[in-house]
Each structure stands twice: as structure tokens, then as C-alpha cells.
Symmetry: none
Subunit: 413 residues, 2 copies
Amino acid sequence: MKAEIITIGDEILIGQTVDTNSAWIGSELSKLGFEITQITSIPDRRESILKILSEVTGRADVVIITGGLGPTSDDITKQTLCEFFNTTLVTNQEVLGMIELMFQRRNLPMTENNRRQADVPASCRVLFNAAGTAPGMWFEKGGTIFISLPGVPLEMKYIMNEHVLHELKKRFSSRIIIHKNIMTYGTFEARLAELLVDFEAQLPSNIKLAYLPSLGIIKLRLTGSGNNLVELSKQINEQVQKLYATIPDYIYGEDEETLEMVLGKILKEKQLTICTAESCTGGMVAHMITSVPGSSTYYKGSVIAYDNSIKKNILKVKEKTLKENGAVSREVAEEMAAGALKLFDCDFAVATTGIAGPDGGTPEKPVGSVWISVASKNGVTAEKYQFLHDRETNIKHFSIAALNMLRLRVLVK
Amino acid sequence: MKAEIITIGDEILIGQTVDTNSAWIGSELSKLGFEITQITSIPDRRESILKILSEVTGRADVVIITGGLGPTSDDITKQTLCEFFNTTLVTNQEVLGMIELMFQRRNLPMTENNRRQADVPASCRVLFNAAGTAPGMWFEKGGTIFISLPGVPLEMKYIMNEHVLHELKKRFSSRIIIHKNIMTYGTFEARLAELLVDFEAQLPSNIKLAYLPSLGIIKLRLTGSGNNLVELSKQINEQVQKLYATIPDYIYGEDEETLEMVLGKILKEKQLTICTAESCTGGMVAHMITSVPGSSTYYKGSVIAYDNSIKKNILKVKEKTLKENGAVSREVAEEMAAGALKLFDCDFAVATTGIAGPDGGTPEKPVGSVWISVASKNGVTAEKYQFLHDRETNIKHFSIAALNMLRLRVLVK
């Protein structure tokens, strides 16, 4: 059960559009048990389209094609499909009626270009598109199913959901694929791989493990295939339990959970409130926390103390502490967290002070160093971290480290 | 001058990762005058990698390959490149030294997996990667240049910028292409296109105009081609002057300038200081301002008043104002800005209060509405904006609108 995806459009190749359709289609087809063997993006050019259509015939069971179905002259997919499938364009009266109705409802005049959207290759099965004017088309040739869809994500998804996915499921339901993600933070990929050597060695042959790192967060993806959903789910679940037993300190969540989502869940459960005091992260920690819908139930606010005068006047960091230790120090981080805890009257406060770069580093405190402190009624702790990136990435790393430190402290409360 | 892009990684095919690398690479290579003829995404599988490498040999002048260079067992690009180029892995001492140094600096133990990152095919030219541990590799075969890069966007971009782009430019420079971007904010694409009808009509045939909208910011990109650099620069410059004359109110900067960068430039020039008071934007405005290196010279800090108690206790918004008008109102926005101005003792303060969603909207104050206020010693102004997006996008739109309102006020001071 092999599937391929073809996306057509000059805008993809010159990078004006990021191709998000392929990821969505790949994910949906994977869930049905298809193995996605290739994604190909090609320009709106007759020869390129004909070439890839020939290549995939017989090689894939299903090919999803998106793009090139617009009303303007640069879109040539439909004519080229006619050439490839040896057929001609005919007006589909049902589609024409739907387009006319759509324009009537919106009180807009119809152009010749719009009318031409109802022309479809005579040999295809038409997939109606209530989300737009270009219909989808279903062809079969040489043992391969070809499905051509508009490139507009909303329209593509509409036709996939309404017409394509359940029909493919009916025709190809045999092998089942399950993906399960375990989210980790706190160590790097090579170290995790060492800790998981035995785990990887004992994995049954139908389950694969992949490491997907991003900004210190490593997603462990288990992919299992089988014939029996219950059986396979049980198998995957066993492996997940083994992961929890092997690396308990590094796992913070599952599937697409972010640290801020997990933190929010714990805070809601425990009915705790938090606040932040940020220097070098300049609002990023607050932004991540408040990106979670409903965060207003546990997040009270922040002081961003970019200037030292703000650290003193609002967060009540002592002049002496700043002078003796410098702004980037354990002592200042701790006084910032303690000051915020009091000012906002919360259960927990997290504070950051560091050097994001590109300037401001010294041999003792290089760019990328940060002190993070967490304060609660039970006391204040602080930790130092060192990253080695550009300003933007350092700020993200600092913020993720702060969220994780806060999460760990809130967990044990 | 044909180029192709190959991205390797199971996570792309099953849709867990959206391939953003291809768009970035496609855009950069286009700027150098390359025609991108195909983008192909394939799984981490030996046969798939060997097959596509054979196909592109001789067909493209340059092939950029990303992904599959991690330290874990699922990454097999390096071994497969050895097979294709008929060579073996050898340890590169320089790369090993850099990796060792990186681990020393971070005080972390090095593993065998990390050490293996320094193994490279003997026949390649190594492209050093200061942004990570996996180096890039440059091969040539059958008239085609193959460049293999890590899939982590940050590392891929580092090596492209440091090692690849200028070398490709040197080797393939024939026709001269100049891109010039004019950055606008404050109106929508269709309106801008109306205003620029005459401008577009008078453009010489070797200069094209493209509209690239993102979050209310519309980048106008002029692309000119020619044989004489001085001549072409002069031509482009003339068109830029015409744009300034036609839409003066909407242009805020050039090339890749962001609103926060332009704001920072003006503040430095005028030696002014600013602060922020954020409710619904939850730190995003502060984050954007502090993403600019050197922002500490003009940015003092922020109060994020997510909870109404913080608006009252710290920003000194009156209880009565909150009760009579609600938190999302002109009056509260203005008192927040005025309160922050006093608290931080700055020249300008900007405040936001709105409803990002998904919950919290009412018929009178729907999700996506925001009041933004700017205060200075000359008085306080406020404006209401309405957006219609999801939480994340609303927060970004609110923040960009706030930065622009602050920029316009600071400009006329």
C-alpha cells in the first residue's frame, strides 16, 4: 500500500509558498496504513507534469496531486491530465450549476474563467467541491489511482474529507499503522540514544523508533504496523511503558504536547497560580505561557525588567546584590523570582536573567549563559544553563528551560 | 542553471514535520538565478536515497540535500552517500576538535554517537557547522554539485549562508538578478494593488513586482534582471522612488526590516526610551521589541497584566474604570499606558487589551477585538482594531498593530 504526493505550482519551487498540503495529506494517508514513499513538487509545466505522472504509474497504489487547477492561464494541470489520460475536457453540468449558485448567493457576476472551472476530463469521476469552484478528479490507470485536487488547503481538505479518505479506507483496509510520540526534555539526542540502546534492541520488528529534536525538546516517535488494531495498540502501549521506565526524568508529555500545555494542565489540576519576571527572555516565557487557551485561570502576569532600574524599583532586587554579583547571577535571579512572587501574590514565580547576544558576553559570562530561578512559599532555587546559539535561538532555549524548571518544581509541590 | 532540492526524513512523509527547508532553499537559489525544477521528499531508506541521487545526476547543476545526518541509528544519509560516491567514512580531526570544544564549553560528557558526527565521506569537502555537530558535505559527480546538509533549519541555514551561497554565486554568475523589497503595513493587498495599477503599468519589462503578504505586512518585491549591475541598480532605484511617491503612508522600511527593527532605529536616533503594558498580547510585544539586538538601550521593560488585579495594583488602572467599561475598552487601555509610562519613567508607553480567543468574546466585543493605546508626556491616544483569526494569529496581529501605532507616534515626536 504505497502512496505518493505530487504538488504542482511555481510558487512552491521558488519558496513563496511553504507546501503544507503534503504534510496534511501524508499524515491522513499514514493513519489509513499507507506508506508514503515520495513527495514531489514540480512547476506548472506540461513536461514536468507528464514526466512525474508516468513515473508514478504502477509504482504507487494511490497518488494525490494538488495544485494547478485555478482559473488563470498559468494553471495547466487539467489540460495536461487530459493529455496523459488520453481524453478531452467536457462541461460538467452539475459543477456548472453549483458554481452559478455560488455566484448568485454572493451576488457576484460570473466570468468566462469561472465558467471554465466546470470543464473536466471526460474520463474522470468528479469530486464535488463545496468549498470552492474547482472540483477534484479521480482517475485510474495501470493499477494506480490518481486524485487531482485544488491547491487551496481549505478546498483540498474538504474534498479529501468528503470524498477521498473513506473511499480509500474501504478499498485498502488491511495493514494498520499507529504512531505514538513521547515528548522529552533535559538531555541531548546522542545521550538519549545511549540510554535507549537496550530499548531499541528489544523492539519488535514491526515497531520503529525515531528521534525528532527541536530546541532541546526531543520527540521520540514509535511507529507500529500490524493487522489487528487492538493487538497493535497493546504492543505500542507496552513499549511506551518501557520508555517511561527507562527515561522517567526526561519525559514530560505525549503526542503534540508542549511544555507550556503540560505546565498549564498541572497548574489547573492543582489550582495554583504563577507569574514571571523576565530579563533576557524579554517576554518570551510569558508569550509561551499565554499562548495556551485558558491560561488566564493560572497566569497572573509578569514584570519584564530589561533595565536594571526596573529590577530594583519594581522587583525590589537590592542595589547591593546587583553591584556585587552583576545582573546575570544566581543572586539577582533569586531576588527577581522572590520579588515577583510577592508583587503578584502567586504560588510560584519564575525569573530569567542572562545574555542572549550577540553582544554583552564576557569570558566569565559568555553569550548564551542564563540564570533561571523559581520561587514559592517553600523557598527559592536557581540553576545556570549555557547555550551556544544566535540571539533568537538562545531566547527560545532560555524560555523552554525556564518552563521546564517551573514544571518540575510545580510537579513536586 | 537548474537546481533541485531533496529532503530526507520519515517525519516529512508522514506529515509530522512540515518541510520548511525547501521553501527557504528555493527562495535563496532563485535569487541567485537558479531555476528550481523539482523538490523531492523521500524516507530515511537506502534504496530511496540511492535512486533519487542517480536520477538527479547530470539532470541538475546543483542539488541541495537536507536531513538524515543526526547521530542516531535512523539517520543513514552519510553511509548512503559513501555508497553512492564510492568512498568510505573517515574521521575529520577539525570537526572532531570543534565538537569536543562545544561539549567542553557546555560542560557535558561526549558520547560515541557525538564522536561519530565527525566521520565524513573521504571524498567530500567538509562544510563546517558552528550551529551544531553535523557538518555539511560538498560532492561533485557527473557535472552535478551535491551538497548534503543537516535537516535542522538553523544548522542548514548557517551552512548555506556561511559556505554554500556565495560559492554558488561565484561559480554560476552570468545573468544579474536584483531583488529589492519595500515593506508596507496599514492596508490590504487588493487595495494596494489598486493604488499601484499605474505603477505596475509603467514598469519596464525586465522588472517584475510581487505582493508577499504576511500578518498584515505586505512585502512588495521588485525583481530586476539585466547584464549591467550599475545600470540595473539605477533602474531599480528609480522604481523604488516611485513607490515611495505613490504610497508614502504605507511604507515603513526596506528589505527584510521588521517593524521592531525600524522602531528601534528611530528610538536610538532620537534617544528615546519606551516601555510596554500588555494584557491580551501576553508578552508578545515585549518579545518582538527585545528580539532586536541592542534593544536594551531604549527598552526599559513591561508589566504583563493578565489578571485584572495586576492592572489595578501595579499599573494603577482605577477599579471604577474597569467596572464601568470592562477590561477591553479605550479607557482601560489608556490608563494602562499612562500607568506604565509613570512606573517605568519612559518617553513612550504602549498598552494592549483585547480578546485573543478562542473564548471570552461577546456580541459587542467579539474575539479578535483589541484596544491599543500609546502614552507620552504629550498625552494619551487609543485605537480599536478588529481581527478575525485564531488565538495565536490574533496575538501576532495585535502585537504588530501595537508596534506600528507606537512607531507612528514616535516618528512625529
